[in-house]
Amino acid sequence: MPEPAAPTVTVVPSTAGGPVPVAASRGQLRMAAGRFVRHKLAMTGLVVFLLLLLASLVVPLFWKYGYTSITGQYGTGPSAQHPFGTDPIGHDMLAQVLAGTRTSLETALLVAAISTAFGTLVGAIAGYYGGIADQVLMRLTDLVLIVPVLAVLLVLSNRFSKQADSSLFVGLMLALLLWTYLARLVRGTFLGLREREFIEAEHAIGASAPRIILRHLVPNAAGAIAVNATLTVANAMLIEAALSYLGLGVQPPQVDLGTLIASGEGDATALPWLFYFPSAFLVLAILCVNFVGDGLRDALDPTRRER
């Protein structure tokens, strides 16, 4: 296994109030950004993902059918009027798929944001303070890690998701369960760094704990956090769709890609477009996110690609 990348920081003895070096220098960040931009697959992934998100937000404003409106055409195939066809109830599938994409993407991004913030916080406290805080937080992490995510979600959502705005609840529940891996990762990085000289120097000049954590430790774990956050988006989309497929995720009138696929399943042989379009959008979105995650990993750890 490779050693964790050494923090590229040169600690200049500085008087209090003087310029304090930031762990990840600008030059390094720019180099990483450059590597990411040159990563074709990752850039394609990012662009397609943003296009999907944009389309799901903007197109419904102009499209002639809302996702709940009944069009008077029942179970017709793709045509100029209905590019994605209609379902047996008479919904326009383009409007449905776009609404579903929006729910799925928004939920996944919410999950990634919350679980990343929480995981980083828990990992930071455990790794920085060590001792009892570390013991308690890591046992808590173990506890969450040991319960099967999907099962706990089923239990929770059976009770909670029947409320209005169910996608928000599903997102919050997912976030509650997906922070553990990152917490361990951040803790490990911090444990390795907290005894290093540049942190010792910070202690010596009297820097506060939040300052050391935010300015010096988090930047050193930023790469891992960014990669993990991206992969959490993909993971959240997969789990959320599964939950909806089982009927315990997003509830009507909201739709997401999982519920669309589930309702398209019954007619998959006769009216295949009901199944194909939401599935294609879901797979495409997840694929894009995974490409972005991989590109980020390569860009932030240049030693990886040479191996």
Binding site: I146, L154, A242
Partner: protein, 310 residues
């Protein structure tokens, strides 16, 4: 090892889901009575001890329908294992094979093609694969064969008798779910195997082994693969438990009456939620997770002698 025991204690004694399973529509008196009945008014340690002794005595209590949960859970576990175990075996073989080829022929056309396929399956929800196989592959195969070769619903045909017919029947029911789970799980593992092997192949001791004049085959299989398998083993062991808990999606897609369906029915059944069932389910799956983590640790020590079990 001490920390692991502590962890075990916390994980199984807390019964963290009990409060969540309480139905909001039940009056406080009923809840209190149910609490007494379930022993939830007892202190944590007492509850833990009760649970432990009861479970060691082999009893998980009865469900709301009066069935012993343990027996039912056992039956369901077998059904799920019928799906999960073959998938894991096939997926491991596939993943190691694909991973090794990808690492040895890095950046070749084969490697790129296999990477693309792995990415695709890695990004596809399990139920999408299930529906595709069910509604398209199975229909074509069955039409071509003229009769049902690949069953898309259920884990067996009730009422089949005789050793060979039963065996054939089970295999015909199992092929598609196993294929589904295999495709989904092998993708991630093969990427991991490839990365690990690439790591090892660039290590100094591999250069030494090559410099000594050992045959490439010997270097790859004896020196490199053995070391590259170590991290993969942990991932597989950890994922096995996840698969067991996550099999509910595949079970739903193929209409199997397995573990996951048992949980779903316990949650959404007529008298729901069925606390005893859900609790027992959680305990069993958590226990499986722990057992498989221990197995992973032990395999780790066997494969990598530098690691000692303290």
């Amino acid at each position: 090892m001490a920390s692991f025991l502590l962890f075990l204690l916390v994980a199984v004694s807390g019964n963290p889901l009990a409060s969540l399973m309480a139905n909001p529509h039940i009056s406080p008196a009923t809840i209190a009575a149910a609490k007494r009945e379930l022993g939830l008014d007892q202190p944590l340690l007492v509850r833990y001890w009760d649970w432990l002794t009861r479970m060691l005595g082999g009893s998980f209590g009865t469900s709301t329908t009066g069935q012993p949960v343990g027996t039912e859970l056992g039956t369901r576990l077998v059904v799920t294992l019928q799906m999960v175990v073959p998938s894991v075996i096939v997926a491991v073989v596939l993943a190691v094979g694909v991973g090794v080829i990808g690492a040895v022929r890095q950046y070749s056309v084969t490697d790129h093609a296999m990477t693309a396929v792995a990415y695709l399956f890695y990004s596809t929800p399990v139920f999408v694969v299930a529906i595709l196989l069910k509604d398209f592959l199975a229909v074509d195969v069955n039409n071509a064969a003229g009769h049902t070769v690949l069953f898309t619903l259920g884990q067996n045909t009730p009422g089949t008798t005789g050793t060979l017919p039963v065996l054939t029947d089970v295999v015909e029911h199992t092929v598609l779910p196993v294929l589904t789970l295999t495709l989904i799980t092998y993708a991630g593992w093969s990427r991991y195997q490839r990365a690990q092997l690439l790591d090892v192949l660039n290590a100094d001791y591999i250069r030494l082994a090559r410099a000594k004049g050992l045959s490439p085959r010997r270097v790859l299989f004896v020196h490199a693969l053995r070391n590259a398998l170590v991290p993969v083993v942990t991932v597989v062991a950890a994922d096995f438990a996840v698969l067991l808990g996550g099999a509910v999606v595949t079970e739903t897609a193929f209409g199997w009456q397995g573990m996951g369906q048992f949980l779903l029915q316990g949650l959404t059944g007529p008298v729901s939620p069925d606390t005893t069932t859900v609790q027992a389910w959680m305990m069993v799956v958590a226990a499986v997770v722990i057992v498989f983590n221990i197995i992973a640790d032990m395999l780790y020590a066997v494969l990598d002698p530098r690691i000692r079990l303290a």
